[in-house]
């Protein structure tokens, strides 16, 4: 209900034409508490889902079929505090609001933009990923954000003897044409 109220509010408050687009930009990082924006990586093989298995809920006010495209972008740093090279990969996990396990490929969760890294001992490496979502690009993920509120997480798999993963930016952008509501 609050989402509908919010959507109504926006539709009422901002005039629009048939070609007007609404650009929703969600600062996902701001929803993650400051003290959880950094992930400590223990020694050995360490697979994890950050910030947690349920992911971060992104409350999308418009749950109707008006979205044309979207983009999810993250930025961060991988810090190797160990004495051997740190190797691993990360990917963005996306799931509908109803799926509370973003690591089991069931209930709707999907993985996007898998990226590998290799950080020398004592070094850090900045990472950045941007994934476009539309009917033709990553359509499974696009269908998730079209269905309304969604969850987002990052799955990290690391082989090292110690380090840290810092998230510095996480943003979801969705673009929709409100007049598409009326068919």
């Amino acid at each position: 209900m609050p989402r509908i109220a919010f959507a109504l509010l926006l539709l009422l408050l901002t005039g629009c034409s048939a070609s007007t687009r609404y650009n929703f930009k969600f600062d996902i990082l701001s929803f993650i508490p400051q003290n959880q924006r950094s992930l400590n990586i223990p020694s050995g093989y360490y697979p994890t889902v950050y910030p947690n298995l349920e992911g971060q809920l992104v409350p999308l006010p418009i749950s109707l079929d008006i979205l044309e495209r979207g983009q999810i972008a993250i930025q961060g740093n991988v810090v190797n505090t160990g004495s051997i090279p740190m190797t691993g990969s990360y990917e963005i996990r996306l799931a509908p609001e109803s799926d509370t396990n973003l690591n089991d490929n069931s209930g709707g969760d999907v993985g996007l933009g898998r990226t590998s890294f290799d950080v020398a001992a004592g070094q850090s490496q900045s990472i950045a990923s941007s994934v476009n979502l539309s009917a033709t690009q990553n359509s499974a993920a696009f269908n998730i954000i079209k269905s309304g509120s969604f969850r987002v997480a990052i799955r990290v798999e690391v082989n090292s003897n110690g380090g840290r993963f810092d998230l510095t930016a996480a943003q979801a952008t969705v673009i929709g044409r409100p007049f598409a509501l009326i068919k």
Partner: protein, 463 residues
Amino acid sequence: MTSAMNRLVGVMVFILMCGFSWSQGVRSLGMAGLVLPGPEAAYLNPAYAAYPAGRYGSDQGFRLPVGLLGLLLRPESSPLPALSGLSNLTNENSPFDLLTFYDQLTHLNEFLINPASSRTFINPDTGYPEIQINVAANGIQVTDYQGNRILHDLGLGSQTSISSTKALTPAPLFRVPLALENNLYLDFGAYAGGFGLSLSPNASLRQALQGSQLQPNTEYAVITNASAQAGLSLGFGYASQLPDLPIPEVGLTKVYVGARGEAFYGLTYLEGNFSIGVQTDAQGQIDPNQPPVYRGTAFYTIPGNGNGFGARADLGVVMEAQGTTVGLGIRNALGFARWSGTELQWNGSSASPTSTPSERSSFGFVPAFYLNAATQVPLETGTLLVGGDLGYEGSLFGRIGGEYSLGPARFRAGLGFDNGFRFGLGAGFVAPGFSLDTALTTHRAPIVGHTVFGIALSLGFNF
């Protein structure tokens, strides 16, 4: 309940349309809203009922709904393509612009030259209008593509209710005066007006939309205010010219006095406010699972469900010396009004209100003052009328203006304040049998905020 709400909406639309068709005369609009002395001002000052007609011209034309032309001829505002399928209006390539449609629809008796348009929001990089909505844990910001904030208030008319105006009913749509003997007269009229509708964010939401952080335990809401009333009126008045009065240094002065008692029978009444919002938690965040908060009260009367009645007394005096006329009218010198109807209340998480029979009544001295003056300035060619007025009806308003006549042509201009600064510019053409008047109008564009210019037109017949 639902059928009552439907009837209420129907009545609101009727009152809105009546408000459009009446509005202000185009001659008056050309002088920024100035009303010159004459029988047409008898509603504002009952002494004018005895004042000779035509001394300062007249404003008797019918205002033409030229806005309909604008609405239908302009592809941005025309809803006609929807007749062969709604998708013709809403598909991506349709020129239809809700903002242009809204602006022209709410100004049906003006042809808007530069109506509000979503084109203001076109991002040159993408070629289409964009509204940017930034959502973070601690705030929501709505801007255009460049990050400029967007105006969030929509309003129509001005709010009135019996608590503020007592028995002062809106200006009549029409009046039928019947002269009786001994300077007495009766008049019948119908009124529909006092129409006000506004939609605005509450103070907290306004701040939040401008980029401030959400505060803990605060309600963020959109508020709607609405008012309207319609009914029949019956006036019984006395207006007379008294013997001329010799006033030192002024000379012989003509004096007119008038008093009127007016009773009304009210058919429809609405006053209400309604807000829908969300409450932040102790951390200043909005819980997506929390239901919205509805608040507000609405009191309404519709035919078949209550009625209203009231009476008020109006007084006036007009003096004229050395070619200058000055009049002072006091309406609602004493007024009483009582409406019975239904009260709806929202308080909490339920969208359906509680409904109880209720009434509103008011009695007292809440006068509306109206002072106006005019004079004719003789020129070598043509004649010039200049005048001014000053009034108080809930708030202060005033205008100065003039009309220059040259043969059949009339040229008008005026300046005033009335809920903000306004100016008027107009012209007219008077021919045997008919008169045509036009005026330039201005208002502030909804959402986008620029000044919108319009043209009003009226046609009068005099046989």
